[in-house]
Point group: C2
Chain length 453, copies 2
């Protein structure tokens, strides 16, 4: 064991800039469109929802953006995050591959989400915003925003998908512990929510519906703004600190990855780890195969269409060109709640369309089987979302066992599963099922997607 | 902020020896007694329960004991653990004190318990033991043992206090995820358990009862041994890696603590942090005030008697001289399940009786109020047990605000509260009560304690 188990970075060596991949791409990403006019959206179109600084980042073509000092101060509560060499998993798999995982579960909220929650809250605070709204599914994003709001003294209101609100009371407690107000979505606080509740008082909700409610609420109050935990360019930008740190950490042990795999729902975890490596690859300095892993029950990259679509169910957001299953598509209730989104980040969709990254979909039974192996060897209990990345990494490692290759595999363990043990309980009881997604279902969902000239 | 937020140690600098305080004490600790003869127990008296190597450690007078390489390999999954400077809590409290906390929540099980679970399992494995039994209350110790057994391939059977088994299903899932078998205690697997269930089918159980069951089960099977997560000398020995690391980390930033506070239930967290500092104090190199903090509802140090008593409810263990509330005492169901033990580690009791350390008791409402302040400033959600240490540290920091002193306060954040959010839910709803413990209750409980000539 010459490589240490944990490759740590000192706080002094923490990156001080986020990386924006846009200027390095061979073609510019298609712009968002105004939902009514279908014309390219301009900064003012976002002004009711986001502070100016974040709109600038959303549209920026600068390669690097400095991280504010106040944000770095909060990042230091858990960053730089550790990079692990999975010695004990490798031994269990009897593979000549060398597996590294970047672990984001050390953050207060237990995932990578605070990496963007903290700057989003700080920029809002700088522009005098007093109140932030957002949606949350599994609760990872909502708890991250509540934590960040507690750091800077802003009010935080969270619409949580009703099914999660009922099934995961402890995530709600966590949000409230950090001072957040949590509503079950659909809620009686918005016209859209009331309409849905009138049709079905036990409506399970969806991420798209909760987004609609949080957007409507923010747009109606000049003192309030909306925050999104994934999908948008500025969110992926903030997450690139993951990949920037991983580059430094791998350099410390003299390794470059042959394969990078990361799970993707909205795309911020994947983009956060992958984009700095993609920059190095586009510059010819490394030759890493980069692969996004999505759930078989919500396969926007591998089975969706690359079209302009709304980010939310009600259709109030700008139109974004992305791989989508249709904004009215309600994914099956798989355990990886954070991956249950109908679309994919426009930037991730764009690099996939350009052929710069690969994608695959894996069912949840395989993911949990690999997660149990991981927990018994490496100790950490993974969140359901990164079990997809672990399953893909294990596939690669087992292929190395067959071929005898000593590939270097890098993956992202983007959160712990301490608040997802009900999912493991189901798996251990043999009650977990893989949900089939027929092509006809997807075709049906795509009919609601607007046709753009 | 000249001091970093996290003071990290490299894996290469991790201590490779545990520290045994016994040879450095001004008087030897009173020996354990055989439960029937009341004569000092000898190694063979423990042979049915523990492997020889651990019995040797239990009775050792060597100052340092080398940590086996295989144990160090597993420790590296999370050790060295970080030492934090609580910059943001200090600011919230507006105190000139400098607060440091050693965080053990980074372990797979989320507390300091794996520090001893790993060596206990390894020594048993070395002596051919195939099956380990134990008890668990809140589940921290049971999950740590299950994790350690998964590392070395041993069977793990855990008797979980019935009240916790019902109230905290996710801790049970965690134990099962790592391969442990979990029984509700009292159980129908032991005669003692059957007897209690016959009297009350809904018996809530207690730590003392669960210890009795796990001990009886191990004693009946020559292939099995018993493990204990606190109280005993060898357990405290293994935990000293916490204090040894903290000494190195504070030296890196040129600090020595004026005050050290740590919570204590069985005593292993307190002993683990405090004993290396007590060594330095006894040698005259530092002048730290060392203080144990216990729950007001289970105040063995501050309100118990220093007597020989049994470690378990049924009275099958050797007699240990310790501060005790009586082995038949059933503590109130406070949220800090890990501190609900009738006795105190003989070594902690001994140093307290010698006047080398101080003790205080705090009620749970104050503890949770401080924990919420801690979570909103430092981010981490503390387990209910270390909220006692946080409350004591905050008292000290607020005293510094009054006096203007810049004391250095060191404390142990021995675990995270991700599986204890139900307790926070109660606190946030205003439903948490402080339970009074009348002197008459203690006097009544003490009547069952044997009188030793």
């Amino acid at each position: 064991m010459n490589t240490p188990t944990k490759i740590l970075l000192d706080e002094r060596d923490m990156p001080t800039r986020w990386y924006n991949i846009v200027p390095d791409l061979p073609a510019p990403p298609p712009p968002p469109l105004h939902p009514a006019t279908h014309q390219p959206a301009v900064a003012d179109d976002f002004a009711a929802l986001f502070p100016r600084a974040l709109i600038e980042q959303e549209m920026s073509t600068a390669r690097f953006i400095d991280i504010p000092g106040a944000v770095l101060d909060v990042y230091r509560l858990w960053r730089p995050s550790p990079l692990f060499r999975a010695h004990r998993l490798e031994k269990l798999l009897d593979t000549p591959a060398r597996i590294y995982y970047k672990y984001e579960g050390v953050s207060p909220a237990g995932s990578h989400k605070p990496n963007t929650a903290v700057p989003q809250v700080w920029y809002n605070a700088q522009e005098g915003v007093r109140r932030l709204t957002t949606e949350t599914g599994a609760g990872q994003w909502g708890s991250s925003l509540a934590f960040a709001c507690a750091q800077f003294g802003l009010e935080c209101e969270i619409w949580q998908v009703a099914a999660s609100y009922r099934a995961k009371p402890y995530r709600r407690t966590m949000m409230e512990l950090w001072g957040g107000k949590v509503y079950s979505s659909p809620s009686d606080r918005t016209a859209f929510g009331c309409e849905l509740l009138a049709g079905n008082p036990d409506h399970p909700g969806s991420l798209g519906i909760a987004i609609s409610e949080a957007v409507m609420e923010a747009a109606a109050d000049p003192q309030a703004r909306y925050t999104l935990g994934s999908v948008l360019n500025h969110v992926l930008l903030h997450q690139t600190i993951i990949g920037e740190e991983a580059l430094l950490q791998l350099a410390k042990v003299g390794e470059t990855p042959d394969v990078l795999v990361a799970c993707t729902g909205g795309g911020s975890n994947f983009g956060g780890l992958a984009f700095p490596f993609l920059r190095e690859k586009l510059a010819g300095r490394i030759h890493t195969v980069i692969r996004a892993v999505e759930p078989a029950a919500c396969p926007s990259l591998t089975k969706g269409e690359y079209r302009y679509d709304f980010g939310d169910t009600a259709g109030v957001t700008p139109l974004m060109k992305m791989h989508t299953l249709g904004h009215r598509f309600i994914p099956e209730p798989i355990h990886a709640g954070g991956l249950r989104y109908h679309g994919m980040a426009p930037l991730v969709s764009h690099v996939y369309a350009l052929g710069l990254v690969e994608a695959l979909a894996i069912g949840q039974s395989e993911c949990f089987a690999r997660a149990v192996q991981f927990a018994r060897s490496e100790g950490i209990v993974p969140a359901p979302e990164p079990t997809h990345a672990i399953a893909a990494a294990v596939r690669e490692a087992l292929a190395c066992r067959e071929s005898g290759e000593s590939k270097v595999i890098l993956t992202a363990l983007c959160g712990h599963g301490h608040l997802d043990l009900a999912a493991y309980e189901k798996y251990l009881r043999g009650e977990m099922v893989d949900l089939d997604l027929p092509a006809a279902t997807i075709a049906e969902a795509m009919r609601a997607v607007p046709v753009i000239e």
